[in-house]
C-alpha cells in the first residue's frame, strides 16, 4: 500500500473518529467544569476555539484544542464517512447521517467566519440603526463637528494579532469609510484585557507607561466577560511630525468621554468602545410589554412592538420570545429586559439580540438529514435483530 493511500486510510479511519470524539468529550467535560470558575467566555476561548490546551485547572496538561479536534474530525468525516464510503443498501443510512453531520459542521464554519452578533437596547420611543457587540472592542476615531460623521475604526482582533506595539496606517480604508482623510496615523500598544486607570503614586509604581501621572493597572480576568474592561495606549503621529509632535493618551473601555486632540487645526476624538455594527434599517421601540404569571414575579411573556424603517418605508412588527424579526440577513430576537431591579410601574427597556448568520437555517436541514439517516440505519438493525431473535426462539422451542 502506498504511503498516500495509507495516510488517506488513517485519515478516514474509525479509529481516528473515535479518538477525536474522545478528545472532544474530554474537552467538553473539562470546559463544563471550568465554567463555574473562569466563566463561559474564557472557557470557550481556551477549550473550544483553540488549537492547543496547555493547562487544565492551572496544571500543565497538554491536550489538542477544540478547534483542532473539530478540523481533524471534519476531515475524517469527509474522507472516511463520505468520500471513501462505498454506499450500499446496508450502509445508506450511515452515509446520510455523515452527510447531515457534515452540513452541521459546515454551518458551524460559516457561522465562525461570516457571522457577527450583538445586542440592541431600546427604551420606548427610542430608535437605533446600530447594534453593539457582546464582547468585541474597537478604537474609533472621528472628526468633531463634521456632519455626517465618518468613523475610522480599528477592531480588537487587529491589535490583538499584532501582539504589542503596532503602527496602523491611518488611511487604508475606502473613500467611503474615510472620505476626508486623516492627517495622522495611530499606534496602539500595551493593550490589556481587563484593567483600571489609576494614578501612579507612592503605593503603586506601574510598569506600564504613565500619561500625566496615570497608568493602567492590569487586573485578573473576571469570569463574567462583561465585567472585563480593556485599556490601551494610543499614540497619534501627525503626518507633519516635524512641526507637530506625536501625542499619546490612555484609552479605557469605560471612560465617559473620548480623548480629543487637534491636528492641522481640525479637532478629532478617539474612544475605545464595544464594536458597533450598523443595520440596513432602523428599529424604533413603540411599546414594550412584560406580562407576569398571576401573583408571582415570573415573566409569562415579554414582547416589543417596533417600527422598522427601511429607507422611506415603515412597518410595524411585534418581536417576542421565540418569534424574532428576520430581514435582510439580520435576525432580531427578544432577548431580555431591564433594569432587573425595576419596581412595578418603572419604565423598562427592551433588549434585542441581533445576529447576522448566513447559515441560520442549516442546523435544521442537517437535523432532518441526520434523523432520516439514523431512522434508516437503526430501523434496518432493529429488523435484523427482531428476525434473529424470532429464529432463535423457534430454534429453542
Amino acid at each position: 500500500m502506498k504511503w498516500s493511500e495509507k495516510f488517506l486510510k488513517t485519515l478516514g479511519s474509525q479509529g481516528l473518529a473515535a479518538l477525536m470524539m474522545l478528545f472532544l468529550l474530554i474537552l467538553t467535560f473539562l470546559g463544563t467544569l471550568e465554567q463555574a470558575e473562569t466563566g463561559l467566555y474564557q472557557v470557550q476561548k481556551k477549550y473550544f476555539e483553540s488549537l492547543l490546551v496547555t493547562d487544565v485547572f492551572g496544571y500543565p496538561i497538554y491536550l489538542p484544542g477544540g478547534l483542532l479536534c473539530m478540523v481533524i474530525f471534519s476531515v475524517n468525516l469527509l474522507v472516511g464517512g463520505i468520500l471513501r464510503l462505498r454506499v450500499s443498501k446496508r450502509n445508506l443510512g450511515i452515509f446520510i447521517i455523515h452527510v447531515g453531520i457534515a452540513v452541521m459542521m459546515a454551518a458551524g464554519l460559516v457561522k465562525l467566519v461570516a457571522s457577527n452578533d450583538g445586542f440592541l437596547t431600546l427604551y420606548e420611543n427610542q430608535e437605533s440603526s446600530e447594534y453593539v457587540s457582546h464582547h468585541q472592542w474597537e478604537v474609533v476615531i472621528f472628526e468633531i463637528g463634521k456632519s455626517p460623521v465618518f468613523e475610522y475604526r480599528v477592531q480588537q482582533d487587529r491589535w490583538k494579532r499584532a501582539d504589542g506595539d503596532v503602527l496602523l496606517p491611518a488611511q487604508p480604508g475606502s473613500e467611503q469609510e474615510n472620505p476626508m482623510g486623516l492627517p495622522f496615523s495611530i499606534e496602539i500598544s500595551g493593550a490589556l484585557d481587563n484593567c483600571r486607570p489609576l494614578p501612579a503614586g507612592p503605593n503603586w509604581f506601574p510598569d506600564s507607561l504613565k500619561i500625566e501621572g496615570w497608568a493602567l493597572k492590569k487586573l485578573a480576568l473576571d469570569a463574567e466577560n462583561e465585567r472585563n474592561i480593556p485599556g490601551l495606549l494610543l499614540r497619534m503621529k501627525p503626518a507633519d511630525e516635524e512641526n507637530h509632535p506625536a501625542e499619546e493618551a490612555l484609552l479605557w473601555g469605560a471612560q465617559n468621554y473620548p480623548w480629543t486632540f487637534e491636528v492641522e487645526g481640525r479637532s478629532f476624538a478617539a474612544a475605545l468602545r464595544k464594536i458597533r455594527y450598523s443595520m440596513p434599517f432602523s428599529i424604533r421601540l413603540d411599546n414594550f410589554e412584560k406580562v407576569d404569571h398571576p401573583g408571582i414575579a415570573t415573566a409569562k411573556e415579554y414582547r416589543s412592538d417596533v417600527t422598522q424603517t427601511t429607507g422611506n418605508s415603515n412597518r410595524q412588527i411585534r418581536i417576542e420570545m421565540n418569534d424574532p424579526l428576520r430581514d435582510q440577513g439580520l435576525i432580531l430576537f427578544q432577548s431580555s429586559w431591564g433594569p432587573s431591579n425595576a419596581r412595578p410601574g418603572d419604565t423598562l427597556y427592551s433588549v434585542f439580540a441581533v445576529v447576522r448568520n448566513p447559515s441560520d437555517h442549516w442546523p435544521l436541514y442537517s437535523c432532518i438529514v441526520i434523523a432520516v439517516g439514523m431512522a434508516i440505519a437503526f430501523f434496518q438493525k432493529f429488523l435484523k435483530y427482531g428476525r434473529q431473535q424470532a429464529s432463535r426462539r423457534i430454534k429453542d422451542s
Binding site: G15, A17, L25, T32, D117, A299, F333, A353, F378, Q388
Partner: protein, 706 residues
C-alpha cells in the same frame, strides 16, 4: 397592592371628603389620623422569598375568646368539598387540595400529621390552621431538618433530634431572631448561589413559617368584628349585631355612603357630628388594616366577567379585599360577594359540622361556577383525584413486587408463573405511571416534561417501555428484571425529589418562564433528549448484568446469554443515540430561533453533547474493532455516568441557562452513584486485564470475550 390603593382611595374618598371639610366647618381640629398606614403590620410576603417581615400579628385566639383544647374531626364530605375549592396560586389555578398538599409537604416534610392520635391529611391540616389557629399553632408540623439553624440563634434544641418537627408555639420565642437572621442572609448575599447550606436552610425555615402564618391569618378578616354598632347612626344601618368580616359592611354600604356624605353629616346635631366622624374614622382605620391583611390572603376569587383580550393576558384571581374593593366601586361583584359572605360565615359555624358542610359545598359550587366563565374549572376535579390516586406510589409498589417476583423467577428458572406475574406487575406499574404522566399533561396542557421532577417520571416510563419491548424479543427475563428494577428506582426517586420541588417551587406543575412557554419545542427537544437519557441509562443498567455476571462467573457455559445482553446494550445505545443527537440538535435549533445562537457551550448543552460523543465513540470504536464485548459494556456504564452528569451533575455547577432544578442534597446521591459506578468500571477493567493475561499466557486469547 393596586387593588388596595383603589379600595382605600375610594373609601378614604368617602370618609375624607366629609371629615376634613366638616371638621373645618365646625371650627374644630380634625381628629388626629390614627390610621398609621405605614405602621400597619401584616404578614410578610413569602411567595418569592424576597422579604421576610419581622412584624406579623400574633395568631388570634378563637372569636369567642374560648381556649379550645380539641375540635371535632372533619368529616370526609367536608374535606372532599374544601379540597375542590379552586384558587389561584403560584401563577395557576389549582384545587385547594393541591395547595394544602404542597404547603404541608413544604412545611412538614410529608403530607400527613398525627394530632392527638388522629392522622390528618393536608386539607384537614390547612383547615385547622385557618379555622382553628389557636389549636394548630401547637401542632408539631414545622420540620427543622437541621437543629443548627435554631442553635445558631440561641435556641436550646438538646432535647430533640437533629432533625425534628416543632410547633409554631414552641418556636415563637425565636421567631424574631430567626427572621432577622434570614433577612440578614438575603441582604448580605443577594445571590442565592453564594448561600451556605445553613443560610439556605435558615431562609427556607423562615419562609415556611411565613407560609404557615399566612394560613393562620387567612380567616382573620372574616373573624374581625368591624365597629359597625359603635354609634346609634351606624346601629341604625347595621343593627345591633352586624356580624364580622367585609360582608358585614357590604350589607349596608349604600346607607353608609349616604351617612358619610358631607351634607348628611352637616345635617346632624352638632354634638353628634364629631362622634359620627370619629366612628367613621375608626371604621376607616380598621378597614385599612383588614384590607392589608386580606391582601396577602388566598386568591379565591376569579373575575366575574369574561376577559376579552387579543393579547392573551392571564386571568388574575384576587383575594377578598379586591372583591370588597369592587363592591365599593360598584363594579359587578354579586357572585363573588355571595361567596365572600359564605366564606366569612365559616368561622362562626366551625364547630357545627351540620351547618359547616352545606356552607363549604355552596362555596365550592359557586367558585367553580365563576371559574367556569374562564374555562378554569375543568381540571380541578381531575387534579384532586390525581393526587388522591397517588399513581406513582402505587406504581412503585407494583414495580417492587415485580422485582421480587422476577428475582424468584431467576431462582426457579423452570417455573413460568413468576415470569408471567412479573409481566403483569410490570404492566400494572407501567400503566399507573403512564396514566399519571398523561393526567399531568392534561392538567397542565403541556407535553410530559417541563421540570426536573417530570424528567424522572418520563425517563422511568421510557426505560420500562424500552426494556419491556426488548424482553418481548429476547424472552430471557433479563430486560424484564431490569424493567422492574428501574421502574421501582425511578418511582422512588421521583417521590424523594417531589419534596425538593415542593420546597422550592411549592408545586410540581409550576408556571414556566417565558422562553419555555412553547409546547412545540418542549414536546420535541425535551422529550427527545430525555428519551436519549432513558436509553443511555437503560444500556448502562443492562451492561451491569453482563459485567457482574462475568465477574462472578454466572452461566459460564452459556455464551448465548452474554451475546444476547451485548446485542441489547448495543441496540439500546443506537436507540439512545438517535434521540440524543436529534434532541440535542433540536435544542440548538430552539436556542437559535429563540436567542440567535445555535450553540453556546452551556453546561446542559455540553452534557447532551457529551452523551452524543460518548455513544458515537462507542459505536465507532466497536465498528472499528477497537473494543469488543467487555469494552462495550464498560463504556456503556461510563456512558450511564455521563448521562447522570448531564441530567443532574451540571445543575450542581450553578452556572448556565438550564440550572432549573433545586439540587441541595442531590450531590450526595450523585456522588454515591459515581462511587458505585466507578467501582464497577474499575473492577471490570481489572477483571478484563487479568483475564486477558491468563488467556494470553495460556495461548487461547481467541476464546476470550473481550
Amino acid at each position: 397592592m393596586n387593588i388596595q390603593i383603589n379600595a382605600l382611595s375610594l373609601f378614604l374618598g368617602i370618609v375624607m371628603a366629609i371629615t376634613v371639610p366638616a371638621a373645618s366647618l365646625l371650627g374644630q381640629d380634625a381628629p388626629a389620623d390614627t390610621t398609621g398606614s405605614n405602621d400597619v403590620t401584616v404578614p410578610a410576603p413569602t411567595e418569592t422569598g424576597s422579604e421576610v417581615d419581622e412584624s406579623a400579628p400574633p395568631v388570634q385566639d378563637s372569636p369567642s375568646g374560648d381556649s379550645l383544647s380539641s375540635r371535632a374531626p372533619w368529616t370526609q364530605e367536608i374535606t372532599d368539598a374544601v379540597g375542590r375549592w379552586p384558587l389561584q396560586h403560584g401563577g395557576r389555578v389549582k384545587p385547594f387540595d393541591t395547595f394544602a398538599g404542597f404547603t404541608m409537604l413544604k412545611i412538614n416534610g410529608r403530607r400527613s400529621l398525627k394530632v392527638d392520635g388522629e392522622k390528618i391529611g393536608p386539607v384537614a391540616w390547612a383547615m385547622d390552621c385557618m379555622l382553628y389557629p389557636e389549636l394548630a399553632q401547637h401542632y408539631e408540623c414545622i420540620l427543622v431538618s437541621n437543629a443548627e439553624i435554631l442553635t445558631a440563634i440561641g435556641f436550646d434544641t438538646s432535647e430533640r433530634k437533629r432533625s425534628a418537627r416543632w410547633s409554631y408555639s414552641a418556636l415563637q420565642p425565636v421567631l424574631t431572631p430567626l427572621f432577622t437572621s434570614a433577612q440578614q442572609v438575603m441582604e448580605d448575599k443577594p445571590e442565592a448561589s453564594d448561600w451556605t447550606l445553613i443560610d439556605r436552610q435558615t431562609v427556607q425555615l423562615a419562609q415556611n413559617i411565613r407560609s404557615l402564618e399566612d394560613l393562620f391569618h387567612a380567616f382573620d378578616t372574616a373573624r374581625f368584628p368591624f365597629a359597625l354598632s359603635s354609634v346609634e347612626e351606624l346601629t341604625e344601618i347595621f343593627g345591633e349585631s352586624p356580624g364580622t368580616g367585609f360582608s358585614s359592611i357590604l350589607t349596608g354600604v349604600e346607607a353608609l355612603e349616604e351617612l358619610a356624605k358631607r351634607e348628611t353629616l352637616l345635617a346632624l346635631p352638632p354634638d353628634r357630628q364629631s362622634v359620627v366622624i370619629g366612628a367613621l374614622e375608626q371604621l376607616q382605620e380598621q378597614l385599612f388594616r383588614q384590607m392589608q391583611i386580606s391582601d396577602r390572603g388566598i386568591a379565591w376569587f376569579p373575575p366575574e366577567q369574561e376577559i376579552e383580550s387579543t393579547e392573551n393576558l392571564p386571568t388574575v384571581w384576587t383575594t377578598a379585599s379586591a372583591v370588597f374593593d369592587d363592591a365599593l366601586a360598584g363594579k359587578a361583584s354579586d357572585l363573588r360577594v355571595s361567596v365572600l359572605k359564605d366564606l366569612e360565615s365559616l368561622p362562626g359555624v366551625r364547630d357545627e359540622r351540620e351547618l359547616f358542610l352545606p356552607g363549604v359545598v355552596a362555596i365550592r359550587d359557586q367558585l367553580l361556577a365563576i371559574a367556569e366563565i374562564h374555562g378554569q374549572n375543568k381540571r380541578i376535579s381531575m387534579e384532586v383525584s390525581f393526587y388522591r390516586m397517588d399513581y406513582f406510589y402505587r406504581a412503585l409498589i407494583c414495580f417492587m413486587l415485580a422485582f421480587v417476583v422476577a428475582s424468584i423467577s431467576w431462582l426457579k428458572p423452570d417455573s413460568k408463573l413468576p415470569v408471567k406475574s412479573t409481566w403483569v406487575l410490570n404492566f400494572f406499574g407501567l400503566a399507573l405511571l403512564v396514566t399519571g404522566v398523561v393526567i399531568r399533561c392534561i392538567i397542565q396542557g403541556r407535553p410530559p416534561v417541563t421540570t426536573l421532577y417530570e424528567t424522572i417520571l418520563f425517563i422511568t416510563a421510557c426505560c420500562v417501555i424500552t426494556a419491556l419491548v426488548m424482553e418481548w424479543y429476547d424472552r430471557r427475563q433479563i430486560a424484564l428484571t431490569i424493567a422492574s428494577f428501574l421502574g421501582a428506582l425511578g418511582c422512588f426517586l421521583s417521590m424523594r425529589y417531589e419534596l425538593k420541588e415542593a420546597v422550592t417551587a411549592g408545586d410540581t406543575m409550576p408556571s414556566l418562564v417565558a422562553v419555555l412557554d412553547t409546547n412545540f419545542w418542549l414536546s420535541t427537544h425535551v422529550t427527545s433528549v430525555t428519551l436519549g437519557y432513558s436509553a443511555g441509562l437503560l444500556a448502562a443498567a443492562i451492561a451491569h448484568i453482563w459485567l457482574i455476571g462475568k465477574l462472578l462467573g454466572i452461566r459460564k457455559n452459556d455464551p448465548d446469554f452474554y451475546r444476547s445482553i451485548t446485542r441489547m446494550v448495543y441496540g439500546t445505545i443506537c436507540f439512545g443515540l438517535f434521540f440524543s443527537i436529534v434532541g440535542t440538535i433540536l435544542g440548538g435549533i430552539w436556542a437559535n430561533y429563540s436567542w440567535g445562537r445555535f450553540w453556546g457551550w452551556d453546561p446542559k448543552e455540553n452534557g447532551a453533547l457529551m452523551i452524543c460523543l460518548a455513544e458515537l465513540m462507542i459505536l465507532h470504536a466497536r465498528m472499528g474493532g477497537f473494543i469488543r464485548e467487555h469494552g462495550l459494556h464498560i463504556l456503556a456504564v461510563v456512558n450511564g455516568m455521563i448521562v447522570a452528569f448531564s441530567w443532574w451533575g451540571v445543575n450542581l455547577l450553578g452556572v448556565g441557562l438550564h440550572s432549573y432544578g433545586f439540587t441541595d442534597g442531590i450531590l450526595i446521591t450523585l456522588l454515591l452513584f459515581y462511587a458505585i459506578e466507578g467501582g464497577v468500571v474499575l473492577v471490570s477493567l481489572i477483571h478484563r486485564f487479568v483475564n486477558l493475561k491468563i488467556y494470553t499466557s495460556g495461548g487461547s486469547a481467541s476464546s476470550t470475550s473481550t
